[in-house]
Symmetry: D2
Subunit: 404 residues, 4 copies
């Protein structure tokens, strides 16, 4: 724990969570579990969720009223890191994306009838959900361009569109769909977020998109979706009409803390694996991997880079707690690209240290190498964040790079 960001409750909570992760979840990291589809291990994980509840650790991300702890973002971030040391941690604690984001969203913006019907079971871990925004026809780096339309007809919206990277749609009970409701508005006010039940007629999960060779399934999948003449009542609108981007933006602030702390957990675990291996793998009689400076260099660089990234992210989390996400947008851009790149470097070094073993699924590293490459792409590619950060900085120097 970083003492700068420690709190009383973290001091008691974190070790308990860490112990749970180490004793209950690390043993699940078998070759089999790291290679087969998620649905195979899902029953086991659902069993583990019971233990989480028994241990009184359920609902870490929730307000007190919902059985949670009202943790600050900075506190939750530190928990998130510990959960991320296992690929199953977030799911077992029901704090997995995209459900955690949808939980926050529904909490703040959903009408009561949706809360009752969807939020409650979501918080209980009885259903899953997804978020449907990205479209294959338009560059993800420019989310305001969107082809999906929601047209009013009577009391309903009729939704038509084509999406992909709708993560965890497979098996989800509902979808938050981002669709253009106000095509005549200015470009940031055209879209709305609408809750669509997965079983609504016209909703088609075209396929789980194969990523790095795996289509995956259930929670661990990324769907291509078609919405054809899908009819939902207008009361399924989340927040005000036209506020789709505003809400997405709001979601992204804390969302990036979640992601970044997850990256740090992954990096920290990879670091642990590299050190363990370096300290025990013999190269020749009496010489261990860790005796070699090349390996020492990997270790030293990784240690410094992880620590630096963690401080950067937790500072931002605290600032969001204190000032709101809008006030620290630059920091949020900064942590995204800095941390994602750091994590991928650390994972890569850990693989290299493990040699042939490193690329196998006998050890965790290749799981992250494949599943987390997208970290530099989703929620804003490196290039998008760097340009945005520089743009804001240059504005303070009097240059509006968007003046044209």
């Amino acid at each position: 724990m970083e003492s700068l960001f420690a709190t009383e409750r973290l001091r008691s909570l974190l070790p308990r969570i860490q112990e749970f992760v180490e004793t209950e979840l690390y043993p699940l990291e078998s070759t089999e579990n790291l290679t087969q589809n998620f649905s195979k291990i899902e029953p086991t994980l659902l069993e583990k969720r019971k233990r989480v509840k028994e241990a009184g650790l359920w609902g870490l991300h929730l307000p007190v009223a919902d059985g949670g702890l009202d943790l600050t973002l900075c506190e939750f971030g530190q928990i998130s890191e510990v959960l991320a040391r296992s690929p199953f941690g977030h799911f077992v604690f029901n704090t997995q994306a995209p459900d955690i984001g949808n939980t926050e969203l529904l909490h703040k913006y959903a009408p009561a009838h949706l809360k009752e019907k969807y939020l409650k079971p979501l918080m209980a871990g009885e259903i899953r959900s997804c978020f449907s925004m990205t479209e294959p026809e338009f560059a993800g780096s420019n989310p305001t361009r969107m082809g999906t339309l929601a047209v009013k007809e009577g009391d309903d919206y009729i939704i038509d569109g084509h999406k992909w990277f709708t993560s965890s749609a497979d098996g989800a009970a509902f979808i938050i769909v981002m669709a253009v409701t106000n095509p005549e508005a200015s470009k940031y006010k055209q879209a709305s977020q609408i809750l669509v039940p997965m079983d609504a007629p016209g909703v088609t999960l075209v396929r789980n998109i194969p990523i790095m060779g795996h289509a995956g399934d259930s929670w661990a999948s990324h769907a291509e979706m078609r919405y054809e003449n899908v009819r939902v009542p207008q009361t399924n609108l989340i927040g005000p009409e036209g506020a789709g981007f505003l809400l997405a933006q709001e979601r992204l602030g804390p969302g990036r803390i979640h992601h970044c702390m997850r990256f740090i957990g992954i990096a920290e675990r990879s670091f642990d694996l590299m050190c363990r291996y370096a300290a025990t793998r013999e190269l020749e009689a009496g010489t261990l991997l860790g005796d070699k400076q090349f390996i020492q260099g990997f270790i030293a660089d990784s240690r410094a880079e992880i620590d630096a990234a963690r401080l950067l992210v937790l500072r931002t989390a605290r600032h969001i707690d204190e000032q709101g996400a809008a006030a620290v947008r630059d920091e949020i851009s900064m942590i995204k690209f800095f941390t994602a790149n750091m994590m991928l470097r650390v994972v890569d070094r850990a693989i290299q240290i493990h040699g042939a073993l490193g690329v196998t699924s006998d050890i965790l590293l290749s799981y992250w190498y494949t599943h987390e490459r997208a970290a530099r792409i989703y929620d804003g590619a490196d290039e998008v964040h760097k340009a945005a950060l520089a743009r804001n900085i240059l504005k303070s120097y009097g240059l509006d790079t968007r003046r044209k």
Copy 2:
């Protein structure tokens, strides 16, 4: 084609091969073919082999006596690059590792009866083979440490041992096993290479090791093997007894040219994909990816790095042709780490340019991202090659880093 290394026959041959690869093999790069096991596409590829033969392009790596062209290594390297632009190229032309290496080996060192029984059908593409050296219990960076033993009993060897990363064992007709025959000899003269039929009693393919989440099968797999009391006649010895490392070393010189030129083919194709996408993907009305300097930087750096690596590798190939591999060991070390790292950077940039599409199996890049990460590990990890290269250089400055 790099004019410095062009030859008359290459000028006629390369365009034909390139056309074959583009028209016959590129269309096979469907999402399905990039994700399913190799055995599913194998029948199609075997059909393609017939077309290769019809086109008179079979046996590119073979001596004239065996229906080949006696190409120099430098010539064949350039063909290898073109074949590597498709993940199926080498297999379709029967020049895939490890068969190409075994072909060379048997040619030079196998007794006539083994040539008749194994080399002939291997050259004809009727059987496949594998090479069994690496052991999980010992660091791959130090190949002289080995637990597999071949003990003489009567006219036979009795082989016992445990290997892994025996690539393409699944479906192979025979194995070249590296085993200690002379435990009392100096460490580089203890091992021998022995041909073992796959169906010999005591040979067990324990599993195809899952790599990056995939066990794969058939040619595209990497097996863990057990040899328990496996009996083969001593006439199955390849080359002299105790010459195992010498032969392995000899194999590695040209083998690294093959690998490196394959890396360059992969990089070149990834470069082509990144440019195509950059030139056509719209970010917003009127602005394409390629208009952005970040993307331009990826393109420019990649172009320079690929060209530099190709020149380095072809220079080395020519030197091997002229002086033999032993004379240019430093160059061989150099190209291995330089080219593998270059290729992985280019593939990574190409993924980044493609955004979310880049990590999917709808496009070729993630195939290489996962299958080729091991390029920095097998046949000598980066660190091993760098240390070896520096050691030789420092020797010429009067420092023997192994003096202790």
Copy 3:
């Protein structure tokens, strides 16, 4: 100011110091002042020191008893950053190395007569001092190897030796010399620190060593020194005999915070220069440097890296305040290489953005490019710190890399 590390007094102090630096010192950055020897600008700077005193800002690094503020290391570090934005800041505030380190040292360990004679005028800025440790004959990365001897004769030490990189010896009133007094002791207990007046017979300043083409002079110089039969009373010993390394070590903890915060000040100022230029330099009609993504990338990366490094250093400073330097040696190693490399990258990017102007002495950047390259070498080269950090980490994993 980083709010995590802000304190009440910093909130009032820092803006005043910053204003002083900006209004009094930035105007001194003429081409002339950046190229001529330090002695030329020294009188001006000594005038500025009077203003510092008038403004009540003198003695920031001192205890209350000596007219200072008893600032914590973490507080002083933040001041140090602001001072470092000008190449003259530290000198004008009398907090320049090596005097600040010698001040701390004499405070803690000097006998009263030395404090009276040397510490008092040092704190008053009336004299300067230097520290003589590194020897050309021995690798700086292994400070325990040392040829300088101090042999007892009567009540005196007779010192003989050859040193270099005795920074600021030119014009200094005294030298703290590290010399072997106990050659029979274990290697970390052989040396002692002894105060030697600059005018002691046998002390020769051989030359100010030309660094990057400049020998420099006065405070801004690095001397080669000869000590030949130099006689000083044994009461000139600082701390206990044989404690030379212990004291040096103690000095290095806070010393590295000083250096690292200085690096951050340099990086921050370079960042400011790059942004100013990017926001105003026209490339063609209507297009400014800052409109280019390459430049934006430099800006974004620099912003993230500076922030990360500052958090890392200030965390360490706080830990030293709380736990002492010995408890956080790993962190101290970490910040040294991480911050020095970051600073040099940022300076380099700032130069690149300025084009031809960047390499001239019409702007500050080349001053730092040349004067600060040594940041990756002195006080422990990158490689030394990385190896030390990894060694300690691996120890916690059970591997003692020094076991042999």
Copy 4:
């Protein structure tokens, strides 16, 4: 020598030149000569020029008619590398920039009277010259923007303008000035090159610009120039009016080969210095620098990168010889940024290996660290070349990034 590019005459010539450089010029690398102004060592170098003539090595860059050898660019490039291993090599062989470029220019484009008066003594090494293009008011990355005007009056041009980075103006006999003669023409056809005697009234050498702290003098200087009402006859025009950029472009092709081969010479010499030091510097009893993997990594990476860059540059040189510079503009862009960055990395590693010694002027490295940082800026900054290269590549993919 790279055997791919060896020729008969190189085989005899190169060793002689290398021996001359090593025996005549290496001994000049004293601390004094590396720090004092060029004019101090100039007499010694002019003496060395006599030895060059005696050795029959004068005029390596000249046509046969002028006493040269008509070397190809590819041959001369290899000589250039060897000369560059000493900071004095090019000057001593009279092949230094900008004179070599002016020699080529006058040869091809000057009227007879200028050849007689200026080219002859230039080739004889009796006078020096300079080239005045860059202007402080306009970004060097866009050379078509220019404020210097040459207006016709009677038979003369009247030139007014402000330039800087007019290298080697100090002591030069004449200047080739780039000035706008045709302001109404399209932007690439506005400027002309005009020969201006240094002593023409109105020509002022404002100052030698301090670079990295040094103004330098004589050949080793970079002047700021004012042209005020400077009158020269129109017969001083070089080439056709309006052809200024065309000629500059033509100059840049071979010019970049010269620069890049010089970079390679610098890198190769730095490599030699790092290996020598690594092989002999003791860290502790029995352990040398070169025993450390960090150092080995520096050596191995440098070896590979230098070789790769040399092949890239010599390939381009040969292509220019065969096809002309216009045909391989992409390659010329590529080698410029690739080689300049490589050289600076190698120099930096060599400094790091030397520790404190590395930043001093007791050894050659810091000379290059400071004098060659501009390599990534002049003759096209990295960013300009990368964008240009990518632009051309993307054009072949159907995207005209300049379409707007």
